[in-house]
């Protein structure tokens, strides 16, 4: 077995190598094969990375600039799963000739190139130990994904991507300012050294950091990374960007990218948990979490666009994860990280399924999508299962993690927070079921439906994989995964 940083570097560089393959591909078939192979290779390397993390613990690379522990491993897992499914779906959505959004070869090359570059920046977020590098990688994700949101170059897509680019960059500027203040706290506690911005150093410094300085830093960091994670009231850009992007990109934005920003917040949370008597993080998490679930609940009730509906669900679930972190303790953090994984696979699957339904119905307007169950039964049943999973119906995994988070709230003295969360969940559930019933059973199925994706082997494998996890993780948590989650909780709580 290979020791040291080999596997984590291999995983990090795979999307770049894949991007190189895409660059030299001449035909449509070569492009699709390069993309699929990159997704599969990433998955292979990921298994070795996770195996190493579980067997030997955290690994450093490039002189401590990069670092992989169980928490990074969890994020790498999420990115790789959603990335693989999105790449496979892309082949049927716009990659093959005759696919519904068939792209010309140059456009397809650019599309795959951007997706793979996007995956690279997200891997860099997961593996960055230096908080400055983490910030740079997150800004990189914004720049790359903004180009993908504007892929269709329609008026609406351009509006959405510009808003996304400007608001997230401005938000991240505040996060950088917060990072600076954190660095100052580190220098004051440890003296100036090159490693003062490393997460591993900051976590160890914990109790020596000046609480006043960290509080100021925290406010800026929350505003910055909270914007990027789509937490209300900083979520304004999110429904636009997620709904105007091409479907596989929506799945990546919602399933993978939001979690990268949430991961940055979790790393910051972990640092402040080491400071005795430091409560500001708890309150910020609680306030942002509650406002996210309630704002999302209201917009879900009145929503009239399928993809925007799913986008507001992302705001809701980011809020739930935030609340889990706020409740804290073993259960709270475990629930939050478990929910991060469950939401990622469920929501990515739903975006992909919803994208196919929108193709078949030729609209994203919830008013106009009716009687889908009779017209396109396969898609409709997938949508129903995905919707129930997202709404937190047992035995799906989202239910399991929401249950853990609520338990944490009730047992660790945050009963009011847990009760408010329950209220929001009830509103969201009612809204979601209303929309589902309308889409599947409502009206008469006279509306003309198109076939949607045809001979969609890749898309079926991608969606099937995600849906199997959305269900399976609720029934049974395999031992390695359970170990990974426990390790990640330990990285946060110490």
């Amino acid at each position: 077995m290979i020791e040291g940083p080999f596997w984590m570097l291999a995983l990090l560089l795979t999307p770049l190598v894949g991007g190189g393959l895409v660059w030299v591909s001449r035909t449509r078939a070569q492009l699709n094969a390069s993309a699929a192979a990159t997704g599969a290779a990433s998955f292979g390397f990921l298994l070795f990375v996770l195996d190493q993390v579980l067997a030997t613990g955290p690994t450093f690379a490039v002189g401590g600039l990069l670092y992989v522990d169980a928490l990074s491993g969890l994020l790498l897992l999420v990115i790789t799963l959603v990335g693989l499914a999105s790449l496979l779906y892309s082949i049927d959505y716009l990659g093959r000739s005759g696919s519904p959004h068939e792209a010309s070869v140059p456009r397809l090359r650019r599309y795959y190139g951007l997706v793979l570059l996007f995956l690279f920046t997200m891997y860099l977020v997961s593996e960055a130990n230096n908080l400055g590098l983490l910030w740079t990688a997150l800004e990189g994700t914004t720049l790359v994904s903004a180009l993908m949101v504007g892929y269709y170059q329609t008026r609406r897509a351009l509006e959405a991507s510009w808003k996304y680019l400007i608001l997230c960059s401005a938000g991240l500027a505040f996060a950088l300012f917060g990072t600076l203040l954190l660095y100052l706290a580190s220098i004051r506690a440890l003296g100036s050294g090159a490693s003062g911005l490393d997460w591993t150093t900051l976590v160890q410094a914990g109790g020596h950091l000046d609480p006043g300085l960290v509080q100021l830093a925290l406010v800026f960091l929350f505003v910055g990374y909270g914007t990027k994670a789509g937490l209300a009231p900083l979520h304004n850009w999110l429904p636009d960007a997620h709904s105007e992007a091409p479907t596989p990109v929506s799945a990546l934005l919602s399933g993978a990218l939001l979690n990268c920003a949430m991961y940055a917040l979790i790393r910051v949370d972990a640092i402040t948990l080491r400071i005795p008597g430091f409560t500001l993080t708890h309150w910020l998490l609680l306030i942002f979490g509650l406002s996210s679930v309630f704002v999302a609940a209201l917009f879900i009730l009145v929503q009239h666009d399928l993809k925007r509906l799913l986008a507001y669900h992302s705001v809701e679930h980011m809020g739930i994860i935030t609340l889990g972190l706020a409740f804290g303790g073993f259960l709270g953090v475990f629930g939050a990280l478990y929910h991060l994984l469950n939401h990622a696979v469920t929501k990515a699957a739903l975006f992909l399924i919803g994208g196919n339904l929108a193709l078949q119905a030729q609209t994203k307007d919830l008013e106009q999508i009716q009687g889908a169950l009779a017209a396109v039964p396969a898609t409709a049943i997938a949508l129903l299962l995905g919707g129930l999973a997202l709404g937190g119906v047992p035995p799906f995994s989202v239910f399991a993690s929401e249950f853990v988070i609520l338990t944490a709230g009730f047992t660790d003295g945050n009963a009011w927070g847990a009760i408010l969360l329950l209220v929001a969940l009830a509103i969201v559930f009612a809204g979601l079921i209303g929309h589902l019933v309308h889409m599947l059973f409502g009206g008469n199925p006279s509306r003309h439906y198109l076939p949607g994706l045809r001979r969609a082997v890749g898309a079926s494998i991608g969606v099937g994989l995600l849906m199997a996890l959305a269900l399976g993780l609720g029934l049974f948590l395999p031992n390695p995964l359970s170990q990974l989650l426990h390790g990640a909780v330990q990285a946060v709580n110490g």
Partner: protein
């Protein structure tokens, strides 16, 4: 010599602040871009003087980098965008010039209130660099949210970045060369991405006012 350099540092930092404020009162885009260039140059001078006063040779390189990227390349890109896309030359605002000017002063006060308690912690405490940097950050943000034109919003973002750069110097002599290089690279990519977008907007709408972007609500 040292006392002269200290005085010069005060002046350069003040110039960075005042030019940020002047960005708020311009009505013409080209003038706004020029002011941003002057602001970046003031920042580069500030960095050079700190390098001299505090014997931090790394900062000379950072000063050079700031001058080349922020004062020369980025304004150059923006001017070309304005010319090539024939952007309407006037800055349209949601907030009037008078309100913007007052807001700028208010943000300076806010910055002093927020970071005042932290000032004694800074490595470079002269010239109230930290409150100035924070004020520049906030003024840049105000510029970004109160202006209609896409080009103006980019300038707002760049002004914010200048504020952060100055804060980095004031607090810690910068974040280390590696991170600084990464930041500069980020700014360049941002400029390229913005350029691509503006060209597409021009193609699609025949103008680059963000005001026309109103179709996504709710």
């Amino acid at each position: 010599m040292t006392s002269f350099a200290t005085l010069a540092l005060d002046l350069a930092a003040a110039s960075a602040l005042v030019t940020a404020w002047i960005c708020l009162v311009h009505r013409r885009i080209t003038a706004l871009v020029d002011t941003y260039a002057v602001q970046s140059a003031s920042l580069a001078v500030t960095e050079g003087l700190i390098a001299y006063l505090y014997s931090a040779p790394d900062l000379y390189l950072l000063a050079l980098l700031t001058f080349v990227v922020n004062a020369l390349v980025l304004p150059g890109v923006l001017r070309r965008v304005v010319r090539a896309l024939r952007v309407n030359r006037m800055v349209n605002t949601y907030a009037s010039v008078r309100v913007s000017a007052l807001a700028g002063l208010g943000l300076l006060l806010l910055a002093i209130l927020v970071v005042g308690p932290v000032v004694p912690y800074a490595e470079v405490s002269s010239a109230g660099l930290l409150p100035i940097a924070t004020a520049i950050l906030l003024i840049g943000f105000f510029l970004l949210i109160s202006r209609e034109k896409a080009v103006t919003q980019v300038v707002g973002l760049l002004v914010m970045n200048n504020g952060i750069l100055l804060a980095g110097i004031a607090l810690t002599y910068g974040l280390g060369l590696f991170v600084e290089l990464a930041l500069a690279a980020n700014l360049l990519v941002l400029a390229i991405v913005a350029r691509i977008f503006l060209a597409r907007m021009k193609e699609s709408f025949d103008h680059v006012d963000v005001d026309a972007l109103r179709s996504l609500e709710g």
